[in-house]
């Protein structure tokens, strides 16, 4: 098909390259469902990435990538904003007001830059390192809780207001890992007493039809998480040299992109 501007029209086909356990992939799947958009899905083996994926995302070589009318969009938060720009009349993900948009962007960045890596660090560590990582997660959750209680998101059911928006999708697709990691590591991350509003928001988010359609079954997530934790702790025990050699191993940790403190592994999701 010739690459004309019409390819980018709403009618042009959508294809999502993703990984079933990747919360970044889930964000895009959820957004597409919220917008009521049909799409083709291609599951990528992260240990053996397809030529098509590498062609569509040469800079990062990661999932998710959304291809629309032959043109590739990488990076989940950028994809979500693209969906809003390309389908402005359907279920907007970003708020209309410029200040609210800036807030949403700020907290999305916080989710990916601070909270996500902190959760990943809990998952990839033990003992004192893990205790420090847990404190970090709690500090981050406390900041979000404060915004829900007294700040920018006070009185809202969702971060987006009455309906889910960009920040709900970004925080929500990832937060289900908290319960999974708690189960696998035996560490308490989201205490309903310490973070009542965050807890209530997450429960409401996970109850949505489109979210239940998107997030994998918890036993699959548990099995996956157990396998990855086993590998990460094995590497941490073996030392840095073994860790960097094994960093190319197919099994990659879910959710958080940060390197584990003991073993320098870039988590490629």
């Amino acid at each position: 098909m010739e690459k004309t501007p019409e390819n980018a029209s709403q009618a042009a086909p959508l294809k999502l390259f993703g990984s079933w356990a990747s919360s970044y992939t889930h964000r895009v799947q959820l957004a597409l469902r919220l917008k009521g958009l049909e799409f083709e899905y291609a599951e990528e083996d992260l240990g053996s990435k397809s030529n098509e994926l590498l062609r569509h995302n040469p800079v990062y070589k990661k999932v998710p990538v959304l291809v629309h009318g032959g043109r590739a969009l990488p990076e989940s938060v950028i994809i979500l904003q693209y969906l809003d720009d390309a389908w402005p009349e359907t279920r907007p993900l970003l708020p209309a007001d410029a200040f609210d948009r800036a807030l949403a962007r700020f907290w999305c960045h916080f989710a990916d830059d601070k909270l996500g890596p902190a959760v990943g660090a809990v998952f990839a560590s033990m003992g004192e390192d893990q205790e420090a990582a847990v404190r970090q997660v709690h500090e981050n959750l406390a900041l979000i809780e404060a915004e829900l209680r007294d700040g920018a998101f006070k009185g809202r059911r969702f971060f987006g207001g009455d309906e889910v928006g960009l920040l709900d999708v970004v925080l929500g697709c990832g937060s289900y890992w908290l319960a999974v990691f708690e189960e696998v590591t035996g560490v308490r991350l989201v205490d309903a007493d310490a973070f009542p509003l965050f807890h209530a928001w997450l429960r409401d988010f996970e109850a949505l039809d489109e979210v239940r359609e998107t997030i994998p079954a918890v036993d699959r997530l548990l099995e996956y998480a157990r396998g990855v934790r086993h590998m990460l702790l094995g590497l941490a025990g073996a030392g840095a040299a073994a860790a960097s050699a094994a960093a190319a191993a197919p099994a990659e940790a879910p959710a958080a992109p940060a390197p584990a403190p003991a073993a320098d592994i870039a988590v490629d999701i």
Partner: protein, 227 residues
């Protein structure tokens, strides 16, 4: 009733910060009057701490008292809050793909450059050598993206240009620390930097490269890095 004498727009900033400079350039491009406030980063003021309690960092833009944090969020905010002020920094609404590409490259710059340059001045030996290699790779990737265009956005100065141009004052510092020539590896980027500096908004915002180098030497002595 006393008049509210608070300025409408205030920018909390630090003189040499490339992130702060992005905001200054965006405000100048849009012709938005603002009050610049220099923050003492060793002794952070109340307003900064209250306005950015999460990170306690500059830049922070205060618009009618409401804080906007993070430089790229601020630049997009300036674009959206003053939509009638020419020029648009992001591509227009009718080109979603161009907007996505602009966000992608600005985000790439955010993810890569500051980290590489910090490792370049802070580390020595193999780690510093790796930082230099990484930095060159990033600049070469940006060079390829710029290709034959005058600006990253095409014919007009825009979001990606704003995101990258403050770092161009650091090029001589990269060269001194890394022992390489930015012009040799990325001539298009150097030509683009010259073109950008012809704009008043950029010329006013960027720090003199000699002062950047002095600042880095100060950081090195502060962090006990052998010079």
């Amino acid at each position: 009733m006393a008049a509210d004498l608070r300025p409408e727009v205030v920018l909390l900033d630090f003189w040499v910060s490339p992130f702060g400079q992005r905001c200054r350039i965006a405000l100048a491009e849009k012709g938005v009057p603002y009050e610049y406030r220099e923050e003492d980063l060793l002794n952070k003021g109340d307003l900064l701490l209250r306005s950015n309690p999460v990170h306690k960092k500059i830049p922070v833009l205060l618009h009618a008292g409401r804080p906007v944090c993070e430089s790229l969020a601020i630049v997009q905010y300036v674009d959206e809050a003053w939509p009638d002020a020419a020029p648009p920094l992001l591509p227009r609404d009718d080109d979603p793909y161009a907007r996505a590409q602009a966000r992608f490259w600005a985000d790439y710059i955010d993810k890569k450059i500051y980290d590489c340059q910090t490792r370049l001045w802070k580390l020595k030996g193999d780690a510093q050598e790796q930082a230099k290699k990484d930095l060159i790779e990033v600049l070469e990737t940006l060079e390829a993206e710029l290709a034959g265009k005058p600006y990253f956005g095409g014919d007009n100065f825009g979001f990606v240009d704003v995101a990258l141009v403050p770092f161009t004052s650091w090029f001589p510092t990269y060269e001194k620390l890394g022992g390489f020539s930015v012009e040799k590896c990325c001539p298009k980027i150097v030509a683009w930097a010259k073109l950008c500096r012809e704009r008043e908004s950029v010329a006013m915002a960027l720090t003199d490269p000699d002062k950047v180098y002095e600042f880095v030497q100060f950081l090195q002595s502060k962090f006990g890095v052998k010079q």
